[in-house]
Each structure stands twice: as C-alpha cells, then as structure tokens.
C-alpha cells in the first residue's frame, strides 16, 4: 500500500500538480449574544464572514503570498490550512489529503508531519521554560522520527546549524536570544518534522529591518535546499515581492486578485491592488506622487453589498454596489472586478 502511495506521489509531482489546493474556502464566525439575550433584546444573529469563497493552489517548491490589511482574513486562512480552525465550507488538499476530511489516524499523522507553521511573534511562540534543544526535539519525538536520544541530539544540532545557529545553543533558554535568533529557532523547530509545506504567518513583522533581511534570506535559502513550499502571509508588499512566486490579494475575506508575483507588481489589475501598491512609502525618493486613498476597511460584520471595495473605489460603476464580481481571468491573473466583465 505504502509503496503504491509513494509511486502516485512522485507522479503527481512530476506532472506539476499543485501540492496545496484550496477550493471554495469559507469561514463564518458567530458573534451573536447567547440565545436568551437575543430573545429578550429582540436581536438577530451576528455573523462575520472572515473568509468568503477563496480558491488558490500552490505548486511544490513555490511560495504563495497572501497580502491584505487587518481584517482581510489572512490569518484565518493560515489557521485553516494548518488544521487549527475548521472551515465552514470548502476544502484544503495538501499532497492529495484533505486536511479536514475524514481519514484514518495513520493518514492524519502522516499529513500533519508534512505541515508546519512559523508564527509572527518569536517571543510568544517559544516556551520560556524549555531549553532550545528540547523545543526543537519535540516534533521529532512527537512524530516518533528518531528514537535514540543521542541521534536525536545530533539531529537537533544539525537543525541549529542549518538555520545559522551554533549547535551548542541547544543548551540555552529562549530568553538568551535576540528576536531574530528566536525566529531562527522557530524555523528550526518547524523543520524538525521534515515538512513539505510551511505556513509563515507574518514571520518578520516583529523584527527589525536588518534582522528581517537575514530571516527572509534564510527562508529562501532553505526553500532552495530542501524544496519547501511556503504559504507566506504578510501585510508588507515590499517583503512579499522578495519572496513570492504567486500572490493573492485579500479584501474583506475575498481574493480580489491572484497573479504571478512579477505580473502583480509590474501591472496590478484590481483597483485595490493598485491602491495598496501606491500606499507603500517611497523609499527611493523618486518623488512619486502618492495618491491619497479615501476611507478605511469597512466593518467586516456589515460589509458593503456587491463588490466589498466599491465605497473606496476610484473607478466604480453602477453595477458595483449590487452585483458581486466573479473571478475573471486577465492574462495569467484572476481578478474579481466588474471592469473586466465582458458583458456590459
């Protein structure tokens, strides 16, 4: 059985089929008050649609970046992808296994091993009472990868040097390290189970720029050496440009534009993507005229009807506030905007 499974696996890789496939993903949070309060106060249910019908696919060895402002649903997607939060609808397939589908315990374990996550704040994601060596060894023992303690220690040392730390650092506690070094420890821990797919949720936004560059370069280097696939979540477009092969732009839970990174930065299609790119501060001081953008992200509990972006859109049309735009292909990109609708 296993042998057959592996054969199928290599075949899928060769045919260029995506490693991660997200289809019709949707997540609704119920923010209503308890039933009795609703009855007394005569209030209805309050539902927040954090993620609304998101589709994308990540090919093996590539980096898919999700960008968006706060409340756009980036982190909700990340949590669903690693199996921390069940989706309300839709599916996430990783290497042919449905993350949320029914499966045997054995398949579940094999799938979990392939997925790891790196969190934003390295001060919160490492247990302060554990030695670094124990933190990194935990996934190894949890998945029963190496049983011999000596071999396990050797593997921990190997992982530490892989992320640019000294193997002897395993004896220390997290507080003895700086922010950038802690993020390296978090990366080493993620690599310990030999994953294929790593979800990076804002991995550098808590770090200073000089250290951010080190961590971004490390992530890229590891991808080349180990053939890793990343889902990279960030609000910083300049960072995304340096890591992503494909980018998805989220606005209030919907993927408004999805394109190869090169195309997205060279020729953004959706008005929101254009706006986001224009809002990036001009570090090159080319005297770029920054267009002031009106308004802010609306409350996600009561999003505007039709296209969520229409109240802030500079090129809005009559149908924008009534009709939800469907994803339309524009070159290699997929854009959700009525501007590209062929039927008038």
């Amino acid at each position: 059985m296993t042998v057959a499974g592996e054969v199928v696996e290599t075949e899928t890789v060769n045919s260029g089929k995506p490693l991660v496939e997200v289809k019709g993903l949707r997540r609704v949070f119920d923010l209503s008050k308890p039933w009795l309060n609703r009855m007394i106060e005569r209030e209805g249910r309050i539902l927040l649609t954090a993620v609304d019908g998101v589709d994308f696919a990540i090919k093996e060895g590539e980096t898919y970046a999700l960008v968006g402002e706060s409340g756009s649903g980036k982190s909700t997607i990340a949590k669903m992808a690693v199996g921390l939060l069940p989706p309300s609808a839709g599916s996430i397939m990783i290497d042919g296994t449905d993350v949320w589908g029914k499966k045997s315990q054995d398949t579940e374990r094999r799938m979990r091993r392939k997925i790891q996550m790196i969190f934003q704040d390295p001060f919160a994601s490492l247990n302060p009472r554990w030695r670094v060596g124990a933190i990194i060894a935990e996934p190894i023992s949890a998945f029963g990868l190496i049983s011999d303690p000596q071999d396990r220690a050797a593997r921990v040392g190997e992982l530490l040097s892989l992320v640019g730390l000294d193997p002897r650092d395993g004896q220390k506690f997290p507080h003895e390290f700086s922010g950038g070094q802690r993020q390296r420890i978090a990366i080493a821990r993620a690599l310990a189970s030999e994953p294929k797919f790593i979800v990076c949720d804002e991995p550098t936004s808590a770090l200073d720029v000089s250290v951010q560059a080190q961590v971004l370069n490390l992530l890229r280097d590891l991808q080349e050496r180990l053939g890793l696939t990343y889902l990279f979540i960030s609000h910083n477009l300049a960072v995304v440009r340096h890591v992503a092969t494909r980018v998805g732009v989220l606005y209030l839970g919907r993927l408004v534009e999805e394109a190869p990174a090169r195309d997205l930065f060279a020729a953004p299609q959706h008005p929101y993507t254009k706006m986001l790119l224009e809002a990036v501060p001009d570090i090159d001081m080319e005297g770029k005229d920054r267009q002031s953008i009106a308004g802010e992200i609306p409350n996600p509990i009561t999003p505007p009807p039709g296209c969520h972006f229409h109240p802030r859109c500079p090129v809005r049309r009559v149908e924008c506030d009534v009709k939800i735009p469907l994803p339309l292909p524009v070159g290699d990109a997929t854009v959700r905007c009525h501007l590209f609708d062929p039927s008038p």
Binding site: V211, A213, A238, V280, I293
Partner: protein, 351 residues
C-alpha cells in the same frame, strides 16, 4: 534663530542590579521650528527613551545623567514636576503608537478635547467646545459636531489616531513628539495619517520629532534624519543625503536591507551580520565595529564622535581625517566604492 528643540550631549542612565546601563550616550541634535526630524533605529536603540526624556516622562529608575534639553532656548531638563506639567501638552504635544491606549475609553471624545483645551488655555466651556469641533474638522473627521459625543471605541483605528492628533495639537504646541504614529495602522490609512500630520504641523509652524523604525515613513515625511545605534548617534543629516548616499556603514547596511518595490526581487537582500548589542554589552570603541565591513584597528579602541561627512554628520572613524589616514588602502577603496565620502587628505579618488 533659536531652534524649537535643542538637545546637547544627552546622557540617559538606567541603574539596575547589575550596574548602571547607559541608554543614551552623548546625543546632540536640534529641531528648527516647522521642521520634521526623523528618529530611526532598531528596537532598543533609544528612540523612544529620547522622546520620553524630552517631555520629562522618563520611567524611573531611568534618569537624565548629563547634557541639556532646551525648548525654544529655555532649559527644561531639570524643571520641577509642576512646571514641567505646564509645558507638557501645552508647548509639547505627544502622539503615541496605539490610539486605543492614549484615549480614555470612558469619556466622550468631545469632553477629552475640551478638558485638554481648558487646562492650557483661558476659555469658557462653550468656546472650548467650539474649538474642539474645529480641531476635529481640521483632522478630517466627518460630521465633527455629532462625533464630539462619541466614545473612542466608536471610531476606527485611523479615525482614532486623527482624534489623538487633534488632542496633541489642541493647545498649539511648539513641538510635537510623534512616537510610531502609524505603526498600528494599515498601509492605506498610514499614508493618510502621515500626510495629515505633516500638513497640520507645517500650517502651525510646529517642530516635529518623528520616532519610527520605518525608513519609508521617514523618507516621505522628514526633513532631516537622526539614525541611532545602541543609544548613540550613527548619522544625522538631511533626509535625501541619508537615504540616497548614507555615510555611516550602519546606515548603508540598513538602507540595503530594506526590501523595496524596485530592484531585482530574485537577488537576496543585503544583510548586516549579527544583531545590535544589548545595553551593557556594547563593545569598546565604535558600537558598530563587530558588524562593520570597513573596520580597521582604531575602531575597536577609539570612540568616534560626529564628524562632517558629505551633507551629514556621521560617527565613524572613516570620516575622521586623523584616523582615515592610517586606514588600510583596501578599506578606503571599498568605502569609497560604497559611496562614503572620505575626508579630503586621505582619498584623492573622492571628487
């Protein structure tokens, strides 16, 4: 003309159980009226603590151990607390990072504004309310009159930061200290807030000390930049010079490490090895020397002061004529290639 704010040889110490830490060491800078000075540096470099020292809100046991702070020519670093309280809010306005914590959640926006105005200016409640409404209109809050009776939680993040700006400007201060005013905001809102802050301070002729870690914000807003490293000045100069032709090796590394929307995305980012030393473990000589590409022998023993460097001042021995003369030829060549304008007698290659 006397600068709105003048800081001379400031030294801030924090006594701890393990000895006295020097958070700021020999820092001097001026801000002219109507000018925006950007303060940049990594976390722990001493940006915020400098701001706190200027408004006299250093958290104990931190203390100003040396140097002077002058506000429009008047020395303010040794004033008794009640005199300082009259300056704070009236002559120096503050804007903090998180607008949710700098507004009182239990009071209406209007009442908070009126209270601030009446504390510092002789006005009747009616006049103060009128001024509060005008301030809200100026910071771009729609339906200002009805919004006066809203509570902070009824505003969005960007709107709340606008209210905080209105509060800071309520008494027409000479100096505004903005500590990471846009860090908690989304990119699209960030641009609006920066433009607003810049415009309002320019109209009033107020000096601004803009504390941030975001070089992009500095490049767009500031007139001059002060780069801090481990509590010491690294470089101080006009924003264009510092961003386009940085003179201190740390600034050069910092600028190269910032991912940008231009340039080749496939090339790895330039990185500075290591990280900033913690207070108490700052190396001898230049604080940056263990991470510096252009280090030469005196860097580990001689403490650099601010030397003239191109359009700026940089605390780097390469800019000191007496030291750059003894620097190895290849170091000078590399430094020159990186755009460092070496002092005249040492580098003939410099234009």
């Amino acid at each position: 003309m006397t600068p709105a704010l003048s800081v001379r040889n400031l030294r801030i110490e924090i006594p701890t159980r393990h000895g006295v830490l020097t958070a700021i060491d020999d820092l001097s800078f001026d801000i002219a009226a109507g000018e925006v000075l950007g303060m940049v540096g990594e976390s722990g470099a001493g940006k915020s603590i400098t701001g706190s020292a200027v408004i006299g809100l250093l958290e104990p046991p931190g203390r100003v151990a040396g140097g002077e702070i002058h506000l429009a020519g008047e020395r303010i670093d040794h004033l008794p607390p009640d005199r300082m309280r009259r300056i704070r809010g009236k002559r120096i306005g503050m804007i903090f990072q998180d607008p949710l914590t700098s507004l009182n959640p239990l009071y209406r926006i209007g009442d908070q504004l009126v209270e601030t105005i009446m504390t510092h200016q002789r006005m009747t409640t009616g006049e103060a309310r009128d001024k509060a409404r005008k301030l809200l209109e100026e910071v771009g809050i729609p339906a200002a009159k009805t919004r006066l009776s809203s509570y902070p939680h009824q505003f969005s993040g960007g709107m709340r930061q606008r209210v905080v700006i209105a509060l800071a400007l309520a008494a027409d201060p000479e100096l505004v200290i903005a500590d990471e005013p846009t860090t908690a905001l989304d990119v699209s809102v960030q641009a609006q807030i920066i433009a607003l802050l810049k415009q309002l301070c320019a109209e009033r002729g107020a000096a601004v000390m803009l504390i941030t870690h975001d070089m992009g914000v500095i490049a767009e807003t500031a007139d001059r930049v002060c780069v801090l490293y481990a509590g010491r000045l690294a470089e101080l100069g006009p924003v264009r010079g510092v961003v386009k032709l940085p003179q201190h090796p740390y600034t050069i590394g910092l600028m190269a490490a910032i991912p940008s929307l231009t340039g080749d995305p496939d090339k790895p980012l330039a990185q500075i090895p290591g990280s900033m030393p913690r207070l108490g473990t700052i190396p001898d000589g230049c604080a940056f020397n263990p991470r510096c590409d252009y280090r030469f022998p005196p860097c580990t023993t001689e403490r650099p002061v601010a030397y003239a460097a191109g359009t700026s001042q940089a605390a780097c021995l390469l800019h000191a004529p007496e030291f750059s003369r003894v620097a190895p030829a290849e170091t000078l060549k590399a430094a020159d290639a990186a755009g460092i304008r070496l002092p005249k007698p040492a580098g003939e290659a410099v234009r």
